[in-house]
């Protein structure tokens, strides 16, 4: 880890911790009367200590292209919101009885390897229509998925739209 990257990570962690302190120590809803200065100084001190202790866990310094990745992640999360809506409509139709319930368990391989990409893809599988992650093998990128019918299972194993999107966001194609 270079010295410059270490300073960068400590600074970002300190800013986020101090913002949380300001948010939670304001106990009225109006800004000007809520703070006195001694509380703010205590907040700066505590945020510095926490930033020095935990910046390696909070921001691991392997960040190449972190701005590009975060811009792609914002676009991806907007698409994910639409998928949450579609998933709920799908489950609603199955509860009412318009679509059949025919559960099965499938397995497939992906090209993802890093922890963040594996976690993001697992959460996305759980939030998209008709599928829930059961188990992940991180070495081979193998997922075990419980699907509620045949079409959602096919959308993961045959079409592979979401895998390509996640691999594009985290640059692991």
């Amino acid at each position: 880890m270079t010295n410059n990257g270490r300073f960068f990570s400590i600074a970002i962690t300190f800013c986020i911790m101090f913002l949380f302190w300001l948010l939670f120590s304001a106990w009225t809803v109006y800004i000007p009367q809520s703070y006195d200065m001694s509380q703010v100084f205590k907040g700066i001190l505590v945020a510095l200590i926490v930033a020095f202790l935990t910046h390696e866990i909070f921001l691991p310094c392997r960040g190449e292209n972190i701005l590009l990745k975060s811009r792609r992640f914002v676009a991806y999360s907007i698409w994910e919101m639409w998928q949450i809506y579609l998933a709920t409509i799908d489950v609603t139709k199955r509860v009412i009885g318009m679509l059949p319930v025919d559960p099965r368990i499938i397995e497939f391989d992906t090209t993802l390897r890093s922890d963040l990409a594996l976690t993001a893809f697992g959460n996305s599988i759980t939030l998209t229509p008709g599928t829930i992650t059961i188990d992940i093998e991180p070495e081979r990128g193998r997922y075990m998925v419980h699907a509620i019918a045949k079409e959602p299972a096919d959308s993961l194993t045959v079409d592979q739209i979401m895998q390509k999107k996640v691999a594009y966001v985290f640059m692991e194609e």
């Binding site: 949450i84 998933a87 709920t88 489950v91 609603t92 509860v95 559960p103 759980t126 059961i134």
Partner: protein, 104 residues
């Protein structure tokens, strides 16, 4: 003022509808895994919609940021909890319901 009230009421009514749907799925579906399908998705969207209605009603203040924080925490934590329960059930050998079996 009236327009804001009506819009936030519509959002909260939609959220309450999805919560009712999730509860019906919890009662109706035949299996542990399919019940998790119903609850994990419907409750996420219902909670997001009700909190969105509260945000529209509130306007902009500290409460808005805290409400957004609750919603964002649930989006990240809800699937993790669902996945943990699913894996625990699969490892412990809860039987998987196939089409045509008896309810359990």
């Amino acid at each position: 003022m009236l327009a804001i009230d009506v819009i936030s009421t519509i959002f909260m009514a939609a959220g309450a509808f999805f919560m009712i749907t999730g509860t019906l799925g919890l009662l109706k579906f035949p299996d542990f895994y399919t019940r998790l399908h119903a609850t994990g998705k419907c409750d996420t969207l219902g909670q997001i919609l009700i909190i969105l209605g509260c945000i529209i009603y509130e306007g902009f203040s500290f409460i808005t940021i805290k409400l957004l924080l609750v919603s964002a925490f649930y989006i990240f934590a809800g699937p993790a909890g669902t996945h943990a329960l699913m894996k625990a059930g699969y490892v412990c050998g809860v039987p998987v319901w196939k089409k045509g079996d008896k309810r359990m």
